[in-house]
Amino acid sequence: MSTVSGRTDSKAALPGAATRRSGPMLRWLGTRGPREFVLRWVVLFALFIGWELAAKAAESPYFPPPSEFAARAAELWLPADGTWLTEATANDVLPSLARMFGGLALGSLVAVVLGVAIGLSRRLGDYVDPLIQFSRAIPPPALIPIFLVLFDRGALMRVLLIAFGAMWPVLLNTIEGVRSVDVIKYETASIFRIGFADKLVRIVLPGAAQKVFAGLRTSLALGLILMVISEMVASTGGIGFHIVQAQRSFQILDMWAGILLLGVLGYLLNLVLTVVERRVLAWHRTTNREIA
């Protein structure tokens, strides 16, 4: 006889349960709520106090207490005396950040473009896979001598080094993300005679976005590392240069201040990326949820 296979959709009305959560995004500085916030920051704070006490007790010239090098860092780089830009910031921080963002932007752009092409074409993927596996296995700092010969010691060489070293996570993740897009989504677009360019922008990119962001997160960390390393060699400015220079001239406080600055920068950049990701992928938190 006839079959009736209607499931009830009683789960239907849960008005906007997921969208509403996106509001107090920054309130707890990247943590999920007051509880996690306290837990995370209290542990960090306790660690610093322990360090402070230990350093004070040891009185070693190489291990100054955090309070001292933090004060030195504030003096060097925090806005003071009515100027936003201290001399040290202009000399060290801004050029460093410019090179890092330049390198990351270039590397990510190239990686996304290549990744989309490779992800869409199995054949292209088969051809270039060995090349990718080989290239990404080379530790980027090992390329500094070659890059120095090829591009001299200017900003370009450092930007390219960062771009080259940081592109692999984005590339590999983009390829995977593009390949994970369901073929039915393309077929649906084909049924409605949507053109290739529209498919690219409206299906391929959003479909791969989550993976791309995962790649960006790793690339950001790599970019910071490469920025510092590239500035420690044949350089005249930047945070990496500052640290090496301070160490060579026994300005131990300055050295530690530079390390602290790197930590803070890395943290803030990651935080910014997280916020951007949550904005861009707001839809994503609506799926894989109990309502899906």
Partner: protein
Amino acid sequence: MLTANHLSHTYGSGAGAHAALADIDFTVEQGELVSIVGPSGCGKTTLLRTLSGLMRPTGGSVTFHGDEIVEVPTGLAMVFQDYSRSLYPWLTVEDNVRFPLRRLHLPKEELRSRIDEALAAVGLTGHAAKYPGQLSGGMQQRVAIARALAYRPEILLMDEPFASIDAQTREDLEDLVLEVKQRFSMTIIFVTHDIDESVYLADRVVVLSKPPTRVVTILDVPLPGERDQISTKELPEFIRLRGEVARLIRHPRDAQEPVAAAAG
């Protein structure tokens, strides 16, 4: 309007080849609603994919307005069986419905009214700003239906569109399909495994066999044009037809002798 000529399709080749469609022949006329029923896995989805131009059949051809289909023609839309995979989770319900309309270059007001009308027709007014991930399966399926309705195709292919929808909503949507067909004189090919549904909606029912799949019979449905969920289904003619379709699916060979088939 749409004709399948000795259509056949085999997946793969060599030892692993699977002959999904053996020989399919039928024609759908302008303004007609033809439902297609057949056992599970007999190749209904495969058939729709070749009819739509998404996939070239390995044998035979499909013609639309007399021209052989080599790609998806204009004026054709399809509601996929895997509705959740066919929606775009990064677009809101409204933007999912708007997506196919991009290429039609409609005036702003018409775009708005088509989207609103389509969402209202499937009972999703008020859910326009949500993402598919926030909806139940049945609601997602209705978004996919609304998307096809807003596109206003000449011919609409629907692949088991109501399979995950509760009985009450399902009846409403069946009546919506009939209404849309009337209002826009839309031609509709409707795949279902629900025998009542196939008879209730259709002008003709195409019954398919088990693989390798052929057309067992094409039944005319001489029910009055104006259909009603309760009274139409009480008509002796309706009851006779649904019995016949059920018998044809179960015992395609001895379907001509209904008494013997019922006893067996």
